[in-house]
């Protein structure tokens, strides 16, 4: 059997990769994907901890996280489409109307 810590470490690694993606990629939609990756890394940690504690509530939280992620994806992609239609770009460097 695999020690549960391994799962958590894997989760941390995936999370860090997601963070790096958010910081390094310029395409908004890829940043969004990286955020999904972070979310899933956290989900993995939840399930691993739930397993460790022998209770299913970790899974319930992940279930809600998935649901919220679905809502987030719908709205987020809607925003991305609206942004693209108005600005003709998804480059995060160019989407900075809110700068000084």
């Amino acid at each position: 059997m695999t020690p549960l810590n391994y799962f958590v470490v894997l989760s941390a690694v995936l999370f860090v990769i997601g963070v790096a993606g958010v910081l390094l990629r310029r395409n908004v939609i890829v940043m969004f994907m990286s955020i999904e990756l972070m979310l899933n890394a956290v989900n993995l940690a939840f399930v691993a901890f739930g397993r460790q504690l022998g209770n299913a509530e970790g899974q319930v939280i992940v279930f809600f996280a998935i649901t919220v992620a679905a809502a987030e994806a719908a709205v987020g992609l809607g925003i991305i489409i609206a942004v693209f239609r108005n600005r003709m770009t998804l480059n995060a460097d160019e989407l900075k109307l809110l700068r000084w």
Binding site: V22, M31, L95, L97, L98, R99
Partner: protein, 640 residues
């Protein structure tokens, strides 16, 4: 004993209702509605006052009516009720204020008949009356202060009623500011009293409550009394704060009548009387009151002798007469002072209203040099004004005689012969200048501009009826205070006795010689006026030439305004302009404000560079924050 009597609340509330009506419904309701409502509410207030008086009389002597509306201020042990009190003193004041006030309101209907801003005018008038009623009905010092400030505000509003004229507006401000000086003294007086009582653990500002705390008040009585008297000099136009009153003549004449006769200037006298228990604890302060009163009376009378503006003569006469009242109060004859206040209200209101009628007829002409010979064309005005002149001169049996006589007798009896002498001389001067006014106005050749002279006639009934009523009062108003021994002798004093400190026992034995002097002096004054202005018109000019210096001094009102300007106003202006405006305001306050703004602005300019608008920069900063938190936990958990 004190009885609860709710209609007391109506007395100030009725004029306040008139205020609301005139303010919000005045223009819409039209002139007619305002003309009915504004005097009507004051008349109703008079009726309620009479009702209250009837109730008061039914109580045993020394009783009072009281109406506590609600608890107004509650701060620890200190609490103030919004309460009204109606005793003998208040009764007289209330009747005078509402009665004379109502007549002036009726008169104003005619006087302001052509003014566009009638609604605003009556708003102020009603508010003025209401404030004065709050002042006289107040159960405690704090409520009294409300009325005190109210009349100050209204005097400002009314003096500067025709605010488009910069000089009028300036005079309004002057009145207000001078009053503020007095008000400051009044406030400090209140604080002193509260402090004095609170030291003894007594938390009260009601007159009834305070009057029983003589022992506590004693150490601070002089200071408190002098501070309060400073307030009184402001409101009642006594030396040194009288300067606003002559300038207040720029307001509409009914306003002058209201200020001089029924409200405002009498407030000081009323206040000193109401707080008589305090002043008697401080003989020095009382002496100050008496001296200030006498000097003011004489001083103002001398100025009045040379004034050519009809209203200014009356204004100085008011100052002078208030001086008499203060003198009376100062020598402990509070009821005499109040008596004179009442009779003065009648004849001074009458004088002003008559003057107003003349000014109204002459389209605003106030210079006596362009009057004269009006006796024929304005008979009612002539007769009524003559009545008032006789009353103010102190010719028996007109009202002024009895009250002035009482004051002077009390002054003499209290052991102030000098003050008595001043008073007597002033009485002569009074008779002189008032008949000078009568002669210059009604007798001799008409000096009226021909264009106006053609259609001169008496004012309409709405203005003359109040004149006639006031004339009757000027004649008979003094009879309530007949000297001891005549008919119902001293009824007025007896009525007031439970409230005011009774005058000394000496008052009971007036010297008949003094009485003769008191009758003779005004007659001399009248005769002098007749001789100077009717028989030998050149004489005044000659005298003025011979005594050029004195004449100049008088014409320039003893250079008091100039003195004040030089000593107080100019330095104040200088300080305001150079120290406060440029220094404090410009450098310090503006510097602080602008400096704050500039700092933020510049700081923002620099800081906004962090707002790149790039979401990844924000994410990076966010991550740095997370790293910080993580580092903290690492430190907490791992290192330790």
């Amino acid at each position: 004993m004190t009885q609860q009597f709710w209609p007391l609340g109506l007395i100030p509330l009725l004029p306040l209702g008139g205020v609301l009506f005139a303010l919000f419904g005045g223009r819409r309701g039209g002139r007619r509605a305002v003309n009915v409502v504004a005097p009507g509410v004051v008349g109703l207030a008079f009726a309620v006052s009479v009702w209250s008086l009837a109730r008061l009389v039914s109580l045993p002597a020394g009783g009072a009516l009281r109406f506590a509306a609600w608890r107004w201020i509650a701060a620890g042990p200190f609490h103030v009720e919004m309460a009204l009190r109606f005793d003998a003193l208040t009764a007289i004041m209330c009747l005078v204020v509402t009665g004379v006030g109502a007549l002036i309101h009726v008169y104003s209907v005619g006087y302001m008949g052509h003014d566009e801003d009638y609604a605003r005018f009556f708003t102020y008038m009603n508010l003025f009356t209401a404030s004065m009623l709050i002042l006289v009905l107040a159960d405690n010092l704090v409520v009294m202060f409300v009325g005190w400030e109210g009349v100050g505000l209204c005097s400002y509003l009314l003096i500067a009623f025709w605010y488009t004229n910069p000089e009028y507006a300036y005079n309004g401000r002057k009145a207000f500011i001078v009053n503020r000086v007095g008000d400051a003294g009044f406030l400090l007086g209140i604080f002193t009293i509260v402090y004095a009582l609170a030291r003894g653990g007594v938390w009260t500002v009601t007159f009834a409550g305070m009057s029983h705390q003589a022992a506590l008040l004693q150490p601070y009585a002089t200071a408190a009394a002098l501070l309060l008297f400073l307030g009184a000099t402001g409101k009642s136009a006594q030396i040194p704060l009288y300067v606003w009153l002559p300038d207040a003549m720029v307001g509409p004449t009914p306003v002058s009548a209201l200020i001089h006769a029924a409200t405002m200037v009498t407030a000081g006298v009323y206040m000193v009387t109401r707080l008589g228990f305090l002043f008697t604890l401080a003989p020095a302060a009382l002496t100050v009151v008496a001296v200030v009163g006498a000097v003011t009376a004489f001083f103002a009378a001398t100025i009045a002798m040379v004034q050519t503006d009809i209203k200014r003569v009356l204004a100085y006469s008011t100052i002078s007469q208030i001086g008499y009242m203060m003198l009376g109060a100062g020598v402990g004859a509070f009821s005499a002072g109040i008596f004179h206040l009442m009779t003065h209200a009648f004849f001074k209101a009458l004088l002003f209203l008559c003057a107003g009628a003349i000014i109204h007829e002459l389209d605003g002409e106030q210079e006596m040099g362009r009057m004269g010979g009006l006796r024929g064309s304005m008979p009612i005005t002539w007769l009524t004004m003559l009545t008032a002149a006789l009353a103010i001169s102190g010719i028996p049996p007109f009202a002024g005689y009895f009250s002035k006589d009482q004051i002077l007798e009390a002054t003499f009896a209290s052991g102030h012969p000098t003050l008595w002498l001043i008073g007597v001389i002033t009485a002569g001067l009074t008779a002189f200048y008032i008949f000078r006014l009568i002669i210059l106005t009604f007798y001799g050749e008409s000096r009226v501009e021909p264009s106006k002279a053609a259609h001169l006639h008496d004012a309409p009934a709405v203005m003359t009826v109040p004149l006639i009523v006031l004339a009757l009062l000027s004649v008979g108003g003094g009879w309530v205070g007949l000297p001891r021994g005549f008919l119902w002798g001293e009824a007025f004093n007896r009525f007031l006795a439970p409230v005011v400190i009774p005058p000394g026992a000496e008052l009971a034995t007036p010297g008949s010689g003094l009485a003769l002097v008191m009758i003779a002096i005004p007659i001399v004054g009248v005769a002098a006026a007749v001789v100077c202005y009717a028989q030998m018109p050149g004489l005044p000019v000659l005298v003025a030439y011979k005594a050029r210096l004195l004449d100049s001094l008088l014409r320039h009102k003893y250079y008091v305004d100039e003195l004040y300007n030089a000593v107080i106003a100019r330095p104040l202006f200088w300080v305001a302009a150079y120290v406060l405006h440029r220094g404090v305001d410009g450098a310090v306050i503006d510097g602080l404000v602008n400096g704050t703004g500039l700092t933020l602005l510049e700081g923002g300019e620099e800081l906004r560079r962090t707002e790149s608008g790039n979401v990844q920069h924000y994410a990076l900063l966010y991550l740095c924050g997370a790293l910080g938190i993580g580092a903290y936990y690492l430190y907490r958990v791992v290192i330790r």
